[in-house]
Amino acid sequence: MGLDTVTLKIRRGEGPGPSRWETFKVPRRPMMNVVSCLLEVQKNPVTADGKASTPVQWDCSCLEEVCGACTMVINGRVRQSCSALVKDLSPEGQTVVLEPMSKFPRVRDLVVDRQRMFDALRKTRAWVEIDGTHQLGPGPRVSQEDQEVMYPLSRCMTCGCCVEACPNYNDRSAFLGPQVISLARLYNMHPSGSMQASQRLDALMGVGGIADCGKAQNCAEVCPKAIPLTESIAVLGRETLKRALFGWLLKG
């Protein structure tokens, strides 16, 4: 068995239309990732059985797993295609199977529209309210200990791995997803962000909020940045419960 090629089996299609599978063979090189394989297909878009085809379309940008663009389902697991190395996926020449994420509308081939995730950020007011960008002196002091909790939460790329793996996130549910719950925790921890904590908690107590989490814990398992998503859900679960029980006491 020669290991001079990589075999890619790719689910292709346009919009909501039917899918078809196409197989490509590309030259195998050291340190190759899935993105390099797709770049090879662009240069020679001919299927494994010799039929002229078209370049496979997929999203990608940074190629170093910080932008989140190139997320897809690879051999059944959702992940970024830039950091998916051929030597790990296909150590003995196994076929590499590529599919678009299933929780978002497909645009074309492996490209999907993840707008719903960005809309969720708007709904949960995922930002720190500031008085303006003019000079108002230094920000509040933060302990090293708090920074070490906040920094990992802040690395969320809105890539979609967690919601792809979540059994409660689909086109029939309004669930906002684990990623926004974790970001709400981040902003609620920030000394000035905490001043709007109740607004974020209210958003997460509404439709599609934290109650829709079924505690499957798939999210933390697939997160490429190892963000402690289930821990965030637990923390905010307690905070929303506190607010549900005692919040009315605080309202003027």
Binding site: M31, P45, C67, P138, S143
Partner: protein, 648 residues
């Protein structure tokens, strides 16, 4: 007719400014416009949260002097100018250095999780070209954290309603409208040559649409993809700059391309290993024995050659990037040193405390581990220089204020040579001269945005007519022209169309990387310029690889537009490099280096202390020059204490 300064026209349309590009420069521009009450349409190839600013790792410079070392904005200004080999206009650089502490404080208030000192203050680390701890950082993903903070603030404005001049909110009209997965196709210029809007394309379905803007800003990043593989993101084709250049905008200092000394060699891209790794104590070395192919970790201390430390005892591993890249390149390509028998050198953090390093550098070391499959905490990394940043870009104006920095809210600031068109971020040429210091790019992007927003407001306020008061025929005509051009791309099938555009791009990148980066020779550059003519002819025979028609995403068809832009900018870069007969910053010709050739000119302030200006003509780019503003700091030798080691 309603006064043109009113937010809404009589027919109820909102007068907006347009910002193309949603990285740090674009987002900061949007924030400043919104704060001034100007609604914005924001266009981006990708969701703005995925812009290339996300890739910056090490940090952002600001002379806050937290460590009590005596650092000051004035020193930062001086070191920026010296780091740029005195080619940067001095007033904008002064403004940037002075604004830097305020910018870092603003980011801190937005919630960027910067690393902290035990007292809870911002922590700062070392970077190249300075001896001070001047760089604030959030782990080793600072660009990502900064981008997210600005993205969040812009999202907040996305939820805010536009108010008319009486303070009444306009239903359904938001301060920011985002057009993500849209590509700039053309600028719309009026009969007087003023930019009045753009034509853009929705990449999800290919539809073309004109947008009117009372000021337009390009914050579209650099042209790294001209060099094929680089540290840049795949979206950094420079297409928008090329479109502006062909519409008449001047392009300045194109030949100044920064090559970063430390990146991971790769087949799809050259992944950056941040300068902060050396800022935190990482060391560069090669085995003394040129034939030594052992793993780095197995080579004893006595058999290692720390060439940067020996040659530059003061700055050691933190000389500016152009100098470090040349030394690495020379050691490997000319002196025959290697790492594990490969064309690389070692970057070593194995001697440092693992826990401390992890807190400060995890994001970048994780990239090495994931992509190379080797643990950098125990094995020295193998790295080599890679194209990283363009100091050159669209020419922009500035107005010097009474304090020597930029005049506040002058419409001249950041304005290109096309009236009404502004540029900011890596897309402009303004702040870095012949070489950019590490951790100055996040700063220049944000400072540029802070200047561009108010400049666009001033421009709009000074204009007699609003874009919405112009006849719609102006916009319709340009949209039709672009539709025709798009339709023509759709006919490139069969017969003479035999060239694969991705393959042509591969050849362009290989050539530019080999002949137009660290070391430049006139003979090579002549060849590059000749080959570019052939490639431009080949481009005309590039095939449409995907026949999918209207309504369907078609990346190969869009790529043709970007490839045309890359060929255009490649010529600007190569021509500027061929013409400049000196060594300055990142532009280096061995034939002119006095260290190699007695009597060679080196940096030539008499003849070449000037900004290169490229202008589009039908025969290709034409060069002219303008003086550099050196009104604040005296010229000096650019010295980082190199000693002769007698080695190599």
């Amino acid at each position: 007719m309603a006064a043109k300064t009113s937010v809404v026209t009589e027919s109820g349309e909102v007068r907006r400014a347009l910002v193309v590009g949603g990285g740090l420069g674009g987002l900061m521009t949007v924030l400043k416009l919104c704060e001034a009450g100007v609604p914005v349409d924001l266009f981006s190839l990708v969701p703005v949260k995925r812009s290339h600013s996300v890739c910056a790792q090490g940090g952002i410079n600001a002379s806050v002097n937290i460590k009590g070392e005596g650092d000051s904005p004035y020193t930062h200004f001086y070191e920026t100018i010296k780091g740029g080999d005195f080619l940067a206009n001095q007033p904008p650089a002064k403004g940037m250095a002075e604004a830097a502490p305020g910018i870092v404080y603003m980011l801190d208030r937005m919630g960027v999780p910067f690393n902290r000192t035990p007292e809870g203050n911002l922590d700062f680390r070392r970077f190249g070209g300075t001896l001070f701890h001047r760089t604030a950082f959030a782990g080793a993903t600072t660009g990502q954290q900064l981008l997210y903070a600005l993205d969040e603030q812009v999202r907040r404005w996305e939820t805010q309603d536009v108010e008319d001049d009486r303070g009444v909110t306009l239903p359904g009209q938001k301060m920011v409208r985002k057009f993500e997965a849209w590509d700039l196709v053309a600028l719309v210029l009026d009969e007087g040559g003023t930019c009045r809007g753009i034509v853009a394309q929705d990449l999800k379905n290919n539809s073309l649409q004109a947008f009117r803007g009372d000021a337009v800003c390009l914050a579209t990043g650099g042209p790294g993809l001209v060099f094929g593989r680089s540290t840049n993101s795949m979206i950094n084709t420079g297409s928008a700059s090329a479109i502006a250049f062909q519409a008449g905008a001047r392009y300045a200092n194109g030949e100044f391309i920064q090559v970063h000394p430390t990146a991971i060699p790769g087949t799809d891209k050259l992944r950056l290993i941040s300068e902060s790794v050396r800022g935190e104590g990482g060391r560069i070395w090669v085995p003394k024995d040129k034939g030594d192919k052992r793993e780095g970790a197995r080579i004893p201390e006595a058999e290692r050659y720390y060439f940067l430390e020996e040659k530059y005892p003061k700055y050691r591993n933190l000389v500016p990037r152009d100098i470090a890249s040349r030394e690495l390149f020379r050691a490997v390509k000319h002196e025959g040193y290697s790492a594990e028998g490969q064309e690389a050198v070692f970057l070593d953090v194995t001697h440092l405390n693992r826990d401390v390093v992890k807190k400060k550098l995890e994001g970048v070391l994780e990239i090495y581990e994931k992509f190379v499959g080797v643990d950098p905490y125990t094995n020295p990394m193998k790295i080599f220089p890679a194209v990283h940043y363009s100091m050159g870009g669209l020419w922009v104006d500035f107005e010097k204020g009474p304090d020597g920095a930029l005049a506040p809210a002058s419409a001249r600031n950041q304005q290109t040579s096309i009236p009404g068109l502004f540029a900011t971020g890596e897309a402009d040429y303004q702040y870095h001269g012949a070489n950019r210091l590490g951790a100055n790019s996040l700063l220049s992007c944000i400072y540029g945005g802070m200047v561009t927003g108010p400049a666009m407001v001033a421009w709009r306020d000074g204009e007699r007519r609003s874009a919405l008061d112009l006849p719609s025929s102006l916009f319709e005509a340009e949209t039709r022209r672009q539709q025709d051009a798009w339709d023509a791309l759709g006919k490139r099938t069969g017969g003479e169309y035999t060239v694969n555009p991705y393959e042509l791009h591969g050849r362009l990148g290989d050539m530019m990387l080999l002949k137009c980066t660290v070391e430049r020779h006139d003979k090579d550059l002549d060849e590059v310029l000749a080959t570019l003519q052939t490639m431009k002819a080949e481009f005309k025979r590039c095939a449409l690889l995907d026949p999918a028609g209207s309504g369907t995403m078609n990346q190969p068809r869009v790529f043709l537009r970007h490839l045309a832009g890359m060929l255009t900018l490649a010529e600007v870069i190569a021509l500027g490099a061929r013409a400049r007969q000196e060594c300055r910053g990142a532009h280096y010709k061995p034939a002119l280096d006095p260290e190699l050739t007695t009597g060679a000119v080196g940096r030539d302030d008499k003849d070449w202390l000037k900004t290169t200006l490229a202008t589009h003509s039908k025969d290709g780019p034409a060069l002219s020059y303008e003086p550099v503003d050196i009104s604040l700091l005296a010229l000096a030798r650019r010295d980082y204490g190199k000693v002769s080691t007698g080695k190599g």
